[in-house]
């Protein structure tokens, strides 16, 4: 399995193909529904985002609280589609990777192609196993959102698949049959 050290260069991103199994290493940010809404509102007010979005990777996750000195609790992906309304704007500003599960809409796919970003999919409902690949978690913003707060994670060999590659190929459309299109 191919190991990818974050942040990825454009050349590295362009070498990825939908369906590739990869292991991610490096720093990523957590943000899901409420945090995306807040970031969108911050941008609308002309304010800065709470972290440097340039070449960043966002993981759509709302983990369970950590116990016994662990870095994090259960931490699998949530459904990415709910973040679709906010995603093209973030990609335009520099976001180059997303980790989640499920389909993205055409606007996200277009932005991924245009800016040579990449969408990764992790296994939903495997939060205990995925927590083993998260070695550090630091607060960043919106702590009042609890599980939905923006945090910085350091991941090591985080297993996922390339979901949508720079050419717009989609892991869910690789076969002839294309079920599940919303």
């Amino acid at each position: 399995m191919r190991r990818l050290n974050l942040p990825l260069s454009e050349e590295e991103r362009m070498s990825l193909k939908a369906g590739d199994a990869v292991l991610l290493c490096g720093e990523i940010y957590t943000a899901r529904d409420a945090a995306h809404k807040k970031m969108h509102e911050a941008l609308a007010r002309g304010e800065e985002l709470p972290f440097n979005i340039e070449n960043a990777v966002i993981y759509y996750v709302g983990p369970t609280p950590a116990h016994g000195g662990l870095a994090i609790g259960s931490a699998g992906p949530t459904t990415s589609g709910r973040m679709d309304p906010y995603t093209p704007e973030l990609i335009e500003l520099g976001l180059r990777g997303m980790i989640g599960k499920g389909r993205r809409n055409e606007a996200v796919k277009e932005a991924v192609k245009k800016y040579k970003a990449v969408y990764f999919v992790a296994v939903g409902g495997a939060g205990a196993l995925l927590s083993h690949s998260i070695i550090k978690r630091e607060p960043v913003a919106y702590e009042e959102l609890l599980a939905e707060a923006v945090t910085k994670l350091t991941v090591k060999d985080f297993p996922c698949f390339v979901g949508i590659d720079c050419e717009g190929n989609d892991i869910y459309d690789l076969d002839e049959r294309v079920p599940g299109r919303d």
Partner: protein
């Protein structure tokens, strides 16, 4: 007339719920894990097989290390089936249920996933309460409690349709198929699907949720509906959505149908989609 009432303290309900919340969050039920193993053995698609192996490993890690199977530890749905001869003491049943859920979630590092107001404030209540509570009266002097911790990736893909009598079995199968296709990879297949047929708009939805409480190998007692469950399962797996939507063989682990009487003019059908983390437990207080 003197009626002998059996006294049951609501504290027993609170304790039972607190411990079930913890158990179902970290321990996958054995029937689900064996269904993963069976599906993994039958799988020929490489990515789908990898997904199932990850889910089997995940269930083991969750149990061994006391880490929730999934970070969406769900919204608690609780059924209290109380015998008519029971007299509850030490407070209100609904408050005891919510205290049990709060303790279960806050004392065991489970995620608080409930917001107070659905549309405007959306402020997290921090306790994972309130739970959704259904109460039913039964005969006797015992209390049966069933709890489900329902994740919303799959709940979001559930659907209800008011079919007409003329739609028949074919209409039911089409609607379930349509719902599964819309759920696709987003709702964490392989699914467990609860189907409610009959009743009214509201009761039909509850029926579809109750169907999820059955064990994977437990079929509808009516042979016609049991056969329908088989037909639906075959249809689902022919869709080739597969584990996590990677086109493998197993789209659903089981499809459970519950039926109840309905109006001459109608045939409500509800499809409650559940991800592979189908968590529920039962306790009896005597």
């Amino acid at each position: 007339m003197i009626v002998d009432m059996k006294e049951i303290s609501v504290k027993k309900i609170e304790d039972a719920i607190a411990s079930m919340c913890r158990d179902i969050a970290v321990t996958a039920s054995p029937d689900i894990v064996s269904a993963f193993e069976k599906a993994a053995n039958a799988e020929t698609n490489e990515k789908s097989k990898a997904v199932l192996d990850i889910l089997i490993d995940n269930a083991r890690i969750a149990k061994e290390e006391n880490i929730p199977i999934c970070q969406d530890t769900g919204m608690a749905i609780v059924w209290i089936k109380a015998g008519q001869e029971v007299h509850f003491t030490d407070g209100l049943v609904n408050e005891a249920v919510n205290r049990g859920v709060e303790r279960g979630y806050t004392e065991n590092y489970l995620r608080a996933s409930v917001v107070d107001d659905p549309l405007y404030e959306r402020k997290n209540t921090k306790t994972n309460t309130p739970a959704v509570i259904y109460t039913e009266l039964t005969e006797g002097d015992r209390v049966e409690i069933e709890i489900m911790a329902k994740g919303f990736g799959s709940e979001n893909k559930s659907a209800l349709k008011m079919l007409t009598p003329a739609d028949g079995e074919e209409g039911v199968i089409e609607f379930v198929k349509d719902t599964l296709l819309k759920a696709g990879p987003n709702a964490c297949p392989p699914f467990v699907i609860g189907v409610g047929i009959g009743g009214t708009f509201d009761s039909c939805a509850v029926l579809s949720k109750k169907a999820l409480l059955r064990k994977l190998d437990e079929h509808n007692p009516d042979a016609r509906y049991a056969a329908l469950e088989e037909k639906l399962l075959t249809m689902a797996n022919e869709l080739k959505i597969g584990p996590m939507g990677f086109h493998g063989r197993t789209t659903a682990l089981a499809i459970k149908v519950e039926n109840e009487p309905t109006h001459i003019a109608g045939m409500p059908v509800a499809v409650n989609v559940c991800c592979h983390v189908c968590r529920h437990a039962k306790a009896v207080i005597e």
